[in-house]
Amino acid sequence: MSKNWPLWEIFVRSKNGLEHRHFGSLHAADAEMALVNARDVYTRRSEGVSIWVVESKDITASNPEHNGELFEPAQDKVYRHPTFYDLPDEVKHM
């Protein structure tokens, strides 16, 4: 019985100065082949200058059903934003 090629997540840096961004995924036997396939699948029109490949199973993702516990603590901390602070109008730039 043949084994299926694993799934890889593809991240591409569009140009220097920008971060790598998730572009999609593809199947490949190993990392090297994933890089070559990613070149053909996701950068046929010079969309990138650098590619990262990560095997999908190595990514740990948060569960959106736990978004409450995870992200709610930040919601009532308005004092982390500059607009929370009262300043007189005379202070123009701060």
Partner: protein, 345 residues
């Protein structure tokens, strides 16, 4: 139902609470499911995107797997009628363009398969559905491409109709599908232009060449109209699909849009649309057109088109003949991995 759960008044909060409740129990009353579905529909109505790990009704998941995989299969099978002409292209310019177009189609199939896999279906299952005939692909690819002019007509008409179908999907509710479609649409417009250019060249050529172009239009016109799907009255998925933004316009509206944009282009080429009833309607500002042969459409969908068997034979053949390559690559990767492990120890 667990009464100790803190139900807030704020809708967002209620949504979170009921979603986490779903996770803990797995068994929900019909009423709870209805509540979740209402919240879900409201999210889509607010133009929020749904991402793969979000809660979704089972029907949403199934419908998306069906539509996205059909779309992917169409891209993959769509390479077959054109592949035949790569080695027969009349010039290097045409050959390079056709090769790039077919390569794009492979890419589009891959974007869509991987978007589809985020819903928990495996690539192998999807291929199995295509190869066994359980899954459909666009019926237009079951027509033969008998002359070079067909490469022109396919690009101009088939890709033209596909673009009309696909552009609204860039805003569909399922995130991975919408993102894949943005990329597909960006790349697709050259496909139609290269097709039109082929037609234009033939129409400005010898009388025989122009005759070839007219013949291709004659054969591809009606199948292209059918490609936009059954009439609204016959279309079973329309209402639900509109709600989920899998569809923004009805099949009949899309078809009218396609006709209105294509007829003037045929005039420009000096070609005649093969429909004696085609006439501009001053009142509606649109073209009236003749009866579509829906019997033919359903025959082709059911597998009795001119090339259904050949397409599947070619596709399954390519998959089976490539098995040893996939196995060898996997064996090579495993051997390398083992070597690396040994070194580390």
């Amino acid at each position: 139902m667990n009464n100790s759960l803190p139900f807030g008044r704020d809708a967002q909060r209620a949504e979170r609470v009921s979603l986490s409740f779903n996770l803990k129990t797995n068994t929900m009353s019909d009423e709870q499911i209805r509540n979740l579905e209402e919240i879900f529909e409201a999210r889509i109505a607010r133009d929020e995107k749904i991402e793969p790990k979000d809660w979704m009704p089972e029907k949403y998941r199934k419908t998306h797997i069906r539509q996205m995989s059909q779309h992917a299969h169409s891209e993959i099978v769509g390479m077959l009628p054109e592949g035949n002409w790569i080695s027969r292209a009349p010039s290097l310019r045409r050959k390079a363009a056709l090769l790039a177009k077919v390569q794009d189609e492979a890419g589009h199939g891959l974007y869509l398969y991987s978007a589809c896999e985020t819903l928990g279906v495996s690539r192998d299952e999807l291929y199995e559905q295509l190869h066994s005939g359980k899954a459909k692909y666009s019926s237009i690819f079951n027509y033969p491409t008998v002359s070079w002019a067909d490469m022109g007509a396919v690009g101009w008409l088939v890709d033209g109709a596909a673009i009309i179908n696909q552009v609204p999907l860039c805003n569909t509710s399922f995130g991975p599908y919408a993102r894949a479609m943005v990329r597909v649409c960006k790349e697709e417009s050259f496909h139609q232009r290269q097709g039109f250019e082929i037609m234009l060249k033939l129409c400005n050529g010898s009388p025989e060449q122009k005759e070839m172009a007219q013949d291709a239009l004659n054969r591809w016109w009606w199948p292209s109209l059918m490609m936009l799907g059954p009439t609204d009255a016959e279309s079973i998925h329309t209402e639900q699909s509109m709600k989920w933004k899998l569809k923004r316009k009805s099949n009949d509206d899309l078809r009218q849009q396609f006709i209105d944009q294509t007829v003037p282009q045929a005039d420009l080429l000096g070609l005649t649309i093969p429909d004696p009833d085609m006439k501009f309607n001053e009142e509606t500002g649109s073209y009236d057109f003749g009866e579509i042969n829906w019997d033919e459409f359903w025959q082709v969908v059911k597998g009795h088109g001119p090339c259904n068997k050949k397409r599947m034979k070619d596709r399954v053949g390519a998959w089976e003949e490539g098995a040893w390559v996939r196995d060898a690559a996997m064996a090579h990767a495993e051997k390398n991995e083992a070597k690396k492990l040994k070194k580390a120890i």
